[in-house]
């Protein structure tokens, strides 16, 4: 095979290699921030809390956002923690932000943390689970204002 053919093959192969790498980079670039949620899809989401929150945000930003987490039912009614200190640990342990005296609560039961302007509750592998509404959560779940989070016999919610 002639020298020139081999040279062209070598060059073509290097070009293929780089085209692959560059197209991978371009996919990453377009993927960097994800896609903006289409307006229609957002309206269609049956999320009352979210819709209310974004409306409030339009007038004065952050006015509708919760500021603290409070126990509304159970032995520790009234115990609260400021969200400014997030992430908040909830449990029976002494390092918890809200320390509950509830036999059905694990030492490190759940964590409440922020992502952007949304709040999440995450179960930390507790024995009895964490419930948002009536459903036991298996992954970090968004909670809005007034959504009841049940941990053992205690109910907590976000308040303004």
């Amino acid at each position: 095979m002639s020298e020139l053919t081999l040279f062209l093959i070598r060059f073509a192969y290097l070009a293929i290699l780089w085209i692959f790498v560059l197209s991978a980079i371009s996919v990453i670039r377009s993927d960097m921030f994800g896609a903006r949620v289409p307006e229609t899809a957002r309206d269609a989401t049956p999320a009352r809390g979210k819709a209310g929150k974004s409306k409030a945000k339009a007038s004065t930003p952050r006015r509708g956002s919760p500021t603290h987490l409070v126990v509304v039912e159970g032995d520790n009614v009234g115990a609260r923690a400021e969200l400014s200190q997030a992430p908040l640990l909830i449990g029976r342990g002494s390092d918890a932000a809200i320390k509950l005296d509830d036999d059905y609560v694990s030492t490190r039961h759940a964590r409440v943390a922020a992502s952007g302007d949304e709040w999440f509750v995450e179960d930390l592998g507790s024995t009895n689970g964490t419930y948002v509404g009536a459903a036991r959560i298996t992954q970090p779940t968004t909670i809005g204002l007034g959504v009841q989070v049940r941990i053992g016999k205690t109910i907590l919610e976000l308040r303004k």
């Binding site: 692959f20 197209s23 949620v37 952007g116």
Partner: protein
């Protein structure tokens, strides 16, 4: 560890982009195979249809599995890995042809293809069986113990086997296998599970010395234990690379878990002390240092730096765009298909291709760190960082060693090198990353409108023990 995910954005599945990139990756792999055939034998290889069909079937099978069970997974990881694996296969095939020319026929490429098949099967099985990476958190201590046990396995009589002075192999039913490759995976799971639970103690307690928060003495237990394990690997197995990998891995995970530079200081000091001790007492380590500092002086000696120097000659001869497949003599480097595959690529495809390969690794690591950033649970974050740093450390140690940046240590180049254990383990690493990224990029389920329908009778509470 706050999430930077901008509100109002969601991740799209991007499976179409993945398919497109996978096709490009196939072109990279099959193109290399054809170029090898044209360059070395002068014709397109006879089995090209079967070969490319098989490669395409494997790749598409992996893609379909991802599409079905992990639809939101990262679109770039799988193509990057497929391209590296395909390129590796072609280069190993090229070396097989070179060995054949000097009447030492091998079928490394054939075996590597078998291992790749097994790797992809395990990849698919992993993403199908493991629907949520957090179930691995339950196996923290189990996998830690299993990892240590696997590391000790080569010392067992009967199964243990020593090859080239490194006691890292076991023989089971005629196959030799490096259990350390699987152990690194298990240890990452163990590190992440352990640290996500105990990071508060490790992160918060301590005192400040010269702008650096040093940890408390009593919290040094885990890092000292891991240091002891690494030193044991170094001294007993004579395996510098793995020792460095395990300790580096633990240090990275610890640093990421605690966000505390003090651990890096402690770890760096331990590492420096260990390296000094190894240099003084282990002859092999001393040799490696000498070969690194004065490669040319030991060229004719045995053990000498012949391999390293031949690799450098090869890369130097290859230059910017390489000699072209068939025009170099990469087979003059011993173990060109495992440790020195980067030198073989540098010789026949040049610096241009080596840069592309390193960029591919960079992108894999970038995706892993990105997955860690967007992951919503601490365990997933640490696991992704750990898995990414396995790849990063391995590539750094091998490519750094081959190019003479750091002393040469034996490790495989992920996905490129010939080596079944490593290839299979690395495919499982990618499967775990795909699983975590699917969890992380999936839109968040909304439960905000369920308040009020709350009923404590619907669920049963179990009293804590």
């Amino acid at each position: 560890m706050s999430e930077p995910g901008a509100p109002g954005f969601v991740h799209r599945p991007r499976r179409g982009a993945e398919l497109f990139l996978l096709l490009a990756a196939l072109v990279v792999g099959i193109g290399a195979y054809v170029a090898v055939g044209l360059g070395v034998q002068g014709t397109v290889p006879a089995n090209i249809i079967g070969y490319s069909g098989w490669l395409a079937a494997l790749t598409i099978a992996a893609h379909v599995a991802v599409r079905l069970v992990a639809p939101y997974a990262d679109p770039v990881l799988l193509p990057l890995v497929a391209a590296l694996n395909g390129l590796g296969l072609a280069v190993i095939h090229r070396l097989d042809l070179a060995y054949e020319a000097v009447d030492k026929p091998h079928s490394f490429a054939q075996q590597q293809l078998t291992w790749m098949t097994l790797g992809i099967v395990l990849f698919i099985v992993t993403i199908i069986l493991l629907r949520d990476h957090r179930s691995l958190q339950r196996l923290t201590y189990t996998s830690g113990a299993a990892g240590i046990a696997l590391l000790l396995l080569p010392f067992m009589p009967i199964v243990g086997n020593e090859i080239n002075g490194a006691r890292i192999w076991i023989n089971v039913a005629g196959f030799s296998f490096q259990p350390g490759e699987v152990a690194k995976l298990l240890l990452v799971v163990a590190f992440s599970g352990y640290l996500v639970r105990h990071r508060d103690a490790l992160a918060l307690a301590g005192r400040r010395v010269l702008f650096i928060d040093l940890p408390r003495g009593r919290d040094l237990g885990p890092i000292l234990a891991m240091f002891a394990v690494s030193m044991m690997i170094l001294v007993a197995q004579n395996d510098l690379g793995s020792s460095l990998l395990f300790f580096g891995l633990f240090l990275v995970t610890l640093y990421v878990a605690t966000e505390r530079p003090g651990w890096l200081v402690v770890g760096g000091l331990l590492f420096a002390g260990g390296a000094l001790a190894a240099y003084t007492f282990v002859g092999n380590v001393q040799n490696r240092f000498n070969f690194w500092l004065h490669p040319m002086d030991y060229y004719y000696e045995s053990p000498g730096s012949g391999q390293l120097v031949e690799g450098m000659f090869g890369m130097g001869w290859g230059g910017l765009i390489g000699r072209g497949f068939g025009e170099g003599s990469p087979s003059s480097v011993p173990y060109a298909n495992s440790d020195f595959i980067i030198a073989a690529i540098g010789e026949e495809l040049g610096l241009t291709a080596v840069m592309a390969v390193i960029l591919c690794y960079g992108l894999i690591v970038e995706r892993a760190l990105r997955i860690a950033l967007i992951s919503r649970d601490g365990f997933g974050k640490l696991l992704a960082v750990g898995l990414g740093s396995i790849v990063a450390l391995q590539v750094f140690v091998v490519v750094g060693g081959v190019t003479g940046l750091i002393p040469l240590t034996g490790l495989t180049t992920p996905f490129l090198s010939y080596g079944g254990s490593s290839l299979v383990a690395n495919w499982v690493i990618i499967a775990l990353l795909i699983r975590i990224s699917d969890q992380a990029r999936r839109p968040i389920p909304r439960m905000t409108d369920l308040s009020g329908t709350f009923d404590s009778e619907t669920t049963q509470v179990v009293k804590l023990t």
